[in-house]
Amino acid sequence: MGRTVLVTGVSRYLGGRKAALLAADPQISTVIGVDVVAPESPIVGTEFVRADIRNPVIAKVMGEASVDTVVHMGVIATPKQAGGRSTMKEINVIGTMQLLAACQRTPSVRSLVVKSTAAVYGSGPKDPAKFTEDMEPRHSPSSGWPKDSVEVETYVRGFARRRPDVSVTTLRFANFIGPRVQTALTAYFSLPLVPTVLGFDPRMQFIHEDDGLEAIRAAVLSPRQGTFNIAGRGVVMLSQAIRRAQRQTVAVPSLLFGTVGRTLSPTGLADFSPEAVRYLTYGRALDTRAMHRTLGFDPAWTTEDAFLSFVQRHDAAEVDVA
């Protein structure tokens, strides 16, 4: 008998693609997608359940279908997506707590894969050049999505202690980038005038959207207990990325950066929260040895190539519009 996988956050781009990818896999017989809103188009091979992970209905769904693997991709990155910071926090933190409670009550669950973010390491001048999974953040994130992710990880660790029979894999992703995915960072790079922090040039690391989904698949198919950094090889400097994208920049002193950034981004898609500003000031890079060795996953795209795939697609789109 094949496996039954439950995926949260399927109505968003990555979750939807992930669910479809898993459904196409011969080892997996059933994929159940969960989200609060229905996906724009039906996801091939996936049973969609409209449920809010913030309430206990989710436990019933999991029990009835005897789910054995849970992929948690429901953590939301920007308040815009959720319709406000407080809703976002509730979905991220309370939602995760409910989901974990349901997992704990469902005996059939064998593995849990959580999509987290490298933002849990924070960023600042005291950071080492590359973070390994066991390093404590030197500048703990104090707000927004990074802080939510820290809390989510704490609950996930608690769950791992209470259900030692479940294999728990936490994947800390570098920023997703690619031709189709839309994040706060792709919105930032798409601004007509890209603000940078005066006197700073952060190192950035990306993971191509295809690689990111592949990494989750690898973790679902051969569960490995533990936390793994997931990023493409190498780093690019922000200045270099902007030159590659052929964008105009404006250097802004760090104190004014948030204000200027929000003015330049009328849609509000680009993120100029304090944590995002710290990242755009100091940057961050990950040590991915555990990803290669233990998880056995090698991204096909380097950081640089992943970024170029975004730039090319972006240029093509602009030509279409014209």
Partner: protein, 359 residues
């Protein structure tokens, strides 16, 4: 002038290897600049030949991630970075820089920018202003990792910059010095940015070990701000050597420690006072008062043209210690003392050899 109170009590048991090496170095300088030195970084030479294909070997920027440990690879990095220097015109270089078509390593080190721009900017200081004489380069390995430990002085850390020029220009393998700096460096606008691009990183265990394991030459200045910001009266007196963190990093990776003495930096900004209140307001470790600064405004920032000597000393091996020595405080303290002592002796020898502070 300032050398009078220095009493070298070391017996000159050390063969005059340093003195011997001065010869060729001096001669090399008399011959003139080695390699093509464009007059200005912005003006491309007329002979910029587009016929020469800009073969740019893409180097793997992720060496530390690859499970294969250590050795030879970082050396390739340097040779690769050298290729465009000879084969590519400035115009082509500028074009690639503007389109972002270059690579940096995981630390943000930009070898191209460093070789072609940053080092070019400071080279006149090294050659003409401070007339640096560098000796003992044979003690610095050509292909493997090593930890260069040196004394720190001079109010602003020009001594580390000069050591970087010395290793790049005068060492046969043109090695890049990857320095470990205080977090203040990386939180200061512009300074942090340039430091990263020039190959430097935060002074912390993981970074030191990562660089050493990758076979890089790592530079540390264990006196830190106590060294750079010390009053002129204490010149050439080594301050306390931090907590010896650099020694355990070397022990963990088995990299040799190269005690290095730098003479000359003490006289560039003779610090006769320290405005502690101003320093506190700006969050600085010290605020220097020199005979020219702040009295003459920006003019006071011009360093005095002292005569410099850099000596890379005999390496201290760390690979013969038993496993776990890095966690044995006694071993670490003893090694730290040995390094400190060797640098102090070397400083005295160089001072005796130097004709005068500005000679």
């Amino acid at each position: 002038m300032p050398d009078a109170d220095v009493i070298p009590f070391a017996s000159p048991g050390d063969p005059d290897r340093a003195g011997g090496a001065v010869g060729p170095s001096k001669a090399a300088r008399l011959v003139g600049n080695t390699g093509p030195q464009p007059a200005s970084p912005t003006v491309p030479p007329a002979s910029a030949s587009p016929a020469v294909p800009a073969v740019r070997a893409r180097r793997s920027t992720d060496a530390p991630d690859v499970p294969v440990p250590v050795a030879s690879e970082p050396h390739e990095v340097i040779t690769d970075a050298e290729i465009p220097l000879d084969g590519e015109g400035w115009l082509e270089f500028a074009r690639r820089r503007i389109s972002g078509d270059y690579s940096v390593d995981d630390f943000g080190f930009d070898p191209e920018l460093t070789d072609r721009v940053l080092l070019t900017l400071v080279r006149p200081l090294y050659r003409s202003w401070f007339r640096v004489e560098t000796t003992g380069l044979e003690n610095v390995p050509s292909a493997s990792g090593a930890l260069v430990v040196a004394n720190h002085s001079g109010v602003i850390a020009l001594d580390s910059v000069m050591a970087q020029v010395a290793l790049h220009d005068e060492h046969p393998a043109h090695r890049h010095l990857r320095m470990l700096g205080a977090n203040l460096v990386f939180q200061t606008p512009f300074m942090g940015e340039v430091a990263r691009k020039a190959g430097h990183t935060l002074a912390c265990h993981p970074d030191a070990e990562r660089l050493l394991a990758a076979g890089e030459i790592v530079g540390v200045w264990p006196e830190g701000f106590k060294g750079v910001g010390k009053p002129f009266g204490q010149r050439y007196k080594l301050q306390r050597f931090g907590r010896g963190g650099f020694v355990s990093a070397a022990l963990r990776t088995g990299a040799p420690i190269i005690p290095t003495a730098i003479v000359g930096a003490e006289e560039i900004y003779p610090m006769i006072g320290n405005a502690k209140t101003i320093a506190r307001i700006f969050g600085l470790p010290y605020f220097p008062i020199t005979p020219t600064f702040p009295w003459f405004g920006p003019l006071g920032l011009i360093p005095l043209p002292s005569k410099w000597m850099i000596h890379f000393g005999e390496p201290i091996r760390t690979d013969h210690f038993p496993e776990g020595a890095a966690d044995d405080p006694m071993v670490v303290f003893n090694l730290t003392d040995q390094v400190r002592e060797q640098i102090q002796q070397s400083l005295y020898r160089l001072l005796v050899k130097r004709p005068s502070a500005f000679g």
